[in-house]
Amino acid sequence: MDANLSRRAWNLLAKLALWLSAAATCALLLVVIGYIFLRGAPGLSWELLTTQESILRGTMGILPSILNTLYVVLVSLALVLPLGVGAAVYLTEYAKNRRLAWAVEFAAETLSGIPSILYALVGVILFCNALGLQKTLLAGSLTLVIMTLPTVIRTTQESLRTVPRSYREGALGLGAGKWRAIRTVVLPSSVDGIVTGCILTVGRVVGESAVLMYTAGLSTAMQDFSTIQGILRASGSTLTVALYVYAKERADFAIAFTIATLLLLLTGLIHLAAYLAGRLLRRR
């Protein structure tokens, strides 16, 4: 009787503790998100999104930073996707030397846990200085490629490993060469993992600030985006870096919160896209 009572009391207590931690987590998130929205959402306007800052005209716009972000995402993806998928295919399907493959995988695993400021350091030394790229969107994107490569390799590898052996055997049994089997049967079957890796990469690129601050520049002014060369050589801040610039260097918190709101919305969209893409591709 007594034991029964104490067991029920413990049960209740445990339940309460769990409920409290869940509630606290939700509350914290809601407060953060709510606060950002409350302070930032009123500043969102069409003008802000489509113009640049101009003292002469007295207007405030963040289009340059939006474009910088877009270009950094595109350039990074265009480089990291073939590199990462290629490396993953090699490691999973071709590498004969299991030890070497293991070493590379271990290195990639370790790299993915390194604080991004270290990548910034490497980027500054390697791309900005040694290769003479200066602080440009290209230097920033290249640094981000190094940073996101492990993620793309890993998600692709995981997805390649789930492709049934019977698919490979079936293709080889029909006289397909190894590369043809991979290209026509294995890779299409692992496209969901590759897409997920891409979207995660986009998320990390959009959210990265430390690396870009040191490798891509801090300018919030419009650059010459008329040619591809212009884009690669442009030096400017992405949204996260602009947020830092406005909040830290100009103490303009209204605009910083507005950018924060925009970033929140973007991140939400990216995650939704990842979820939908995963579901859509798995169903096929």
Partner: protein, 253 residues
Amino acid sequence: MAEQAILSARDLDFFYGAAQALRHITLDIPAGRVTALIGPSGCGKSTFLRTINRMNDLVPGTRMAGSLTFQGQEIYAPGLDVTALRRRVGMVFQKPNPFPMSIYDNVAYGPRTHGERRRARLDELVETSLRAAAIWEEVRDRLKKSALGLSGGQQQRLCIARALAVEPEVLLMDEATSALDPISTARIEDLIGSLKERYTIVMVTHNMQQALRVSDRTAFFLSGELVEFSPTERLFSMPRDQRTEDYITGRFG
């Protein structure tokens, strides 16, 4: 018996690392017949089947010794074009393994792999192969639909059609009905009967009734050795070896 051998093994040994899976196998598989390979699990019958189209190459650390020829050509000769060999020696696997693409693309996969691009020729190959595999009527209206929507038995007949589409001379079947229900199994057994007019079929089966029903010759493997190789009826009615008799009467297995 003046049957022509299409495949000949002479003192064939096969190793997975240090483990010997086949010991001194010597046999001649006649062209245009159904040859069944039977024996308990791990006896080497599947290994032997997979040496014929060099599917064992996928397993690291394997080694062979002796001779295995296909129409007089050494299968393990260095420099042999494995893709060309696999084109002439098709395979149907234990579990149906259609690719996650349309029924049409599954059947057209082999011909496309070997360079066929002409639409009309592909259409023709797809239809004749599906007809030969006795599944045309069931899928003719849904060729563009995913092959994964078919039942297990249909999938396996699709895989047979896919193997036939490259116009092989030999068809290897690795327990091709063991994952199927009895009705699908019966359909595929009928199919084997009709295919043997045009193809040499070598099938691994753990089902002795099946070997008796569909094969002309039966080889009994035990512990990596070929114990007996005879016309099927003789092997089952008057086995020459005591071990064969023990196995087919169910004394072990």
